[in-house]
């Protein structure tokens, strides 16, 4: 089965991201396909490469990056929601005249159109919210 997955909860502050991660791990282990994760609303904070959680807490962003590399999953952050929240790649930072960017190298920015395409083309859509 081809799953389209959205995460709208912020990493660390909400359980949504960890639940979504565990779901994706299990789905892949059972032979299902998750081609892309779409992070929206407060989920876009997952795309920051500057998160440093305490040593005794789950590093969910690193977990997502490792899973994506392992399974070839695209990690996409919604560009409108991420700009609003201060998660930008170099291109957007330059465009806005900002002196820094922070997008994690394994994430990409994209618009809602890409998300809608995933929802339409998948077998099942599931969202993990705050």
């Amino acid at each position: 089965m081809n799953f389209s997955v959205m995460v709208t909860g912020a990493p660390h502050s909400s359980q949504a991201s960890l639940s979504a991660y565990r779901f994706c791990r299990s789905a892949c282990a059972r032979g299902h396909v998750v081609p892309r994760l779409f992070f929206y609303h407060d989920g876009v904070y997952t795309g920051s490469r500057l998160s440093v959680p305490p040593q005794d807490e789950t590093d969910i962003i690193k977990d997502w990056a490792d899973l994506a590399a392992e399974k070839g999953i695209e990690l996409v952050v919604c560009i409108a929601a991420s700009k609003r929240r201060g998660v930008l790649d170099q291109g957007e930072a330059d465009r806005e005249g900002l002196d820094a960017d922070n997008l994690h190298p394994q994430f990409t920015l994209a618009g809602l159109g890409l998300f809608l395409e995933s929802v339409i083309e998948c077998d099942r859509f599931i969202c993990f919210g705050a």
């Binding site: 389209s4 959205m6 709208t8 929206y40 609303h41 409108a80 929601a81 618009g111 809602l112 159109g113 890409l114 998300f115 809608l116 395409e117 929802v119 339409i120 083309e121 998948c122 099942r124 859509f125 969202c127 919210g129």
Partner: protein, 135 residues
């Protein structure tokens, strides 16, 4: 804006249900949900929208968020009539009846024409949808 003719197998339009359950202005999730809905309108799918629980407040007419520094985004719900073909294939724009009653809201207080559904009809609406997106 990407406009795509992406569709399911056999090029059949997918049935997509957008559910608004949260009140406007206190959080941005309703506004961001509306952005998804408006983008979805470009994809020629079979879209329904349901307002329930605190989501019915998204449709209250005559809102003015300027006093709290908010954006009057809820006016954009006015375009729903354009791409929700009411009463075709059972899709349309709906409000759950108990959500209105519990908040003492009359359908006439809302900014757009809606079909009011009881709980059994809401349950039937959820069944048969390809995807349900909650905001």
């Amino acid at each position: 804006m990407i406009v795509s003719s992406a569709s399911g197998p056999d090029s059949v339009a997918r049935r997509l249900l957008f559910v608004f359950r949260t009140a406007p202005h206190g959080t941005i999730i309703g506004q961001e949900g509306l952005d998804v809905l408006l983008t979805g309108g470009a994809f020629e799918q079979d879209i329904s929208v349901l307002f329930m629980d605190d989501g019915v407040y998204q449709l209250l007419a005559s809102q003015d968020a300027s006093a709290i520094g908010g954006k009057d985004y809820t006016r954009a719900f006015g375009v729903l009539g354009d791409f929700c073909e009411a009463l075709q294939n059972g899709q349309g724009v709906f409000v759950e009846s108990l959500s209105l009653e519990r908040r003492a809201i009359d359908p006439g207080d809302l900014s757009i024409p809606v079909e009011v559904l009881g709980q059994d009809a809401v349950k039937a609406l959820f069944e048969g949808q390809h995807a349900v997106l909650n905001f």
